[in-house]
Amino acid sequence: MKEFELFVGPQHVGVTGNMMYHLWVDGDTVVKAETHVGYLHRGFEKLMERRSWLMNVALIPRICVPEPDVNEAVYAMAVESLMDWEIPERAKYIRAMVLELARLSAHLLAISGYAGTIGLYTIPQWLIGDRDYILDLFEQLTGARVYHIYIFPGGVRWDLPNGFLRKLEKVLNYLESRFKLYDDLLFQNKIFFDRAPDVGVIPKEKAIEWGVTGPNLRACGYAYDVRKVDPYAAYPDLDFEIPHYPKFGDFEVLGHGCDCYSRMVVRRLEMEQSIRILRQIIKKIPDGPHTLKLPNPLAWKVPAGYAYARVESSKGEYGYLVISDGGKMPYRVHVRGPSYTHGINVIEKIAPGLNIADFAQTAFSLDVCPPDIER
């Protein structure tokens, strides 16, 4: 009789997407938490076994809505591994560009969601408005705002349109000029300093063991990033830093790391790095074909074998294990989403002891994306 039960989600403002945290609360402290998922389960892995290698390209972006491009990239890389294809340099740069833009847009979404949980509604309004400029770029590049279906095995679907890089440069300049406003409003806000540090702490020594990846891991003080530890696309040629816990540059180091504050600041700094990478890409992008010469799309023969490809998404390590039996369709695809550990395992462990006022901000700061948990 001590605790009451609180359902955060699926129909709740304080949840990222469609999932549910079942909390047992005493007073206003969470005693126990259980994550429930499956509200978005469509059986992707099953459906992919029923579609040809190329048809799957259209299906997979739908696995993670806020950042669909990583799915395309990682699937393409896995198929290329099986096919033993080396894609053209230009395609690599374009892929890196698309992925960085996707990261920017996902981080803008994550920060705005987070700011919403601590009640700062101006930030979401501004950031999502600004994010639309990135979506406009995508639209120009791919024809769609959200599901781009642009990267596919062998390269990218088509070359950059005329004047795209100039427009990209403009958008980057605009975004950079906006960062100061975000800092004034959120990242240097006194109440943010009061609320975020040392909230939702993942124990540093356990972070890797628990499978924490991406910005959440970097907020714990590990400078691990798939772009560095297992580089792909054009990243080996690009110069960028991995922002991680005490290296916050101009931002104050508050708290002891692994907390909401570090996670958000890491994301904020990563946006700067993304812009830096994009600038380099604009300068360095080579000419050449944007894709390989592909065989007949209806009759791809993919050699039997196992392939694993991974990409750094805005949420962490995103990987596909693709198994082919030499047929027209994949025999098995297993999607390893970063939220799988963050959303279930990590949050169930760090929630006890949290104030219910801090639960939403912890969940949002982990940037859990339910569709890549249940697929």
């Binding site: 039960e5 609360v25 009640g119 101006t122 309004q125 806000n189 109440i191 009061d194 006022a357 639960f359």
Partner: protein, 323 residues
């Protein structure tokens, strides 16, 4: 029989003022949405949007309730806030404030909140329970500086009656000129009283899904919206009455009906300014946690209010200034 005529005229005027106050409150909510939207780089809804919202809610075809105690919320909330409005001078018109003083008003202000809390509690939703707990804790927080502020005014002006307070301010200067420190503390307390950010903890939608409001819909929510419209006017107007002379610029005894019109306009402008300050702060701050809010209020604003009280005490008791 002149007495009865007087009473009837007063009652009619009071009803008019109450009606106007609710309209002003709804308008203010609309303006707040518009202003916030502009801060957000948006167009925002039309400023009469909240009239439509209330109309829609009252016209909804079905309601639910959990039990009979659930009805307490809309009834007590609206009746209580109207009662509080009736005891508050608006635009220089005293309404009933001659028949009750600040302490009575302070306790009348509790009636709607308590009714609301009862209804919310009767919904059996834990979100509502936690929301009310937060609201009450917040109340304990902001009342500390606010009571000190009230005390400093009552000590300085040596009255607990709002009518007398206004009269004294009309004949000398506004209280904000003599007690600026208290006014500052009062404005900080006002932010909590109006539950604007950083103190909108009781209704935090991300945390407790709009808290006490969680189970109210349709008619019930419409009534509660009227209540919150009224309470905006109560709170801003209380500040204006206490510190800005209630907006009285013309003495009604001299200028008659003209004074009432002009004072009403000035009063409106002043509560608008007070409301806008709250809205601007609201737009650029995240929210505190409840214990942070409590600590904040019992630290800085209380200190400021205590300074203000000391000032009033020194001026009135030791220096013997009498207004």
């Amino acid at each position: 029989m002149t007495d009865w005529a007087n009473i009837l005229i007063n009652a009619g005027l009071t009803a008019l003022y109450l009606f106007l106050a609710i309209c002003v409150g709804l308008l203010f909510m609309g303006i707040a949405r518009k202003v916030t939207a502009r801060i957000h780089n948006r167009v925002g809804p039309p400023i009469y949007q909240n009239f439509l919202d209330v109309g829609k809610l009252l016209a909804k075809k079905s309601n639910i309730k959990h039990n009979w105690i659930f009805d307490f919320a809309p009834l007590f909330a609206l009746a209580g806030v109207l009662l509080a409005l009736a005891y508050l001078p608006m635009g220089g018109y005293r309404l009933l404030s001659g028949d009750g003083d600040l302490i009575l008003l302070l306790y009348i202000l509790v009636i709607p909140a308590l009714g609301f809390a009862l209804g919310a509690g009767a919904s059996a939703n834990p979100n509502a329970g936690v929301g009310v707990m937060r609201a009450l804790t917040l109340m304990l927080s902001y009342e500390m500086p606010f009571l000190l502020v009230l005390l400093s005014l009552m000590i300085y002006y040596n009255t607990a009656s709002l009518t007398t307070l206004l009269e004294k301010q009309m004949h000398s200067v506004w209280a904000i000129d003599v007690l600026p420190i208290s006014a500052l503390a009062a404005d900080i307390a006002l932010q909590g009283m109006m539950m604007e950010k950083p103190f909108d903890i009781p209704i935090a939608p991300h945390e407790i899904a709009s808290g006490p409001l969680v189970e109210f819909g349709g008619n019930y929510l419409g009534m509660l919206m009227l209540y919150s419209a009224g309470s905006i006017v109560v709170e801003t107007s209380l500040f204006v009455d206490l510190f800005l002379g209630g907006g009285i610029v013309l003495n009604p005894a001299v200028y008659g009906i003209l004074a009432y019109v002009v004072n009403y306009i000035v009063w409106f402008a002043l509560i608008f300014v007070v409301w806008m300050i709250a809205i601007f702060i609201n737009a650029v701050f995240p929210r505190f946690r409840i214990e942070q809010a409590f600590k904040f209020y019992w630290k800085w604003p209380t200190l400021i209010a205590a300074l203000g009280l000391a000032q009033a005490y020194i001026m009135s008791v030791i220096l013997g200034v009498s207004v």
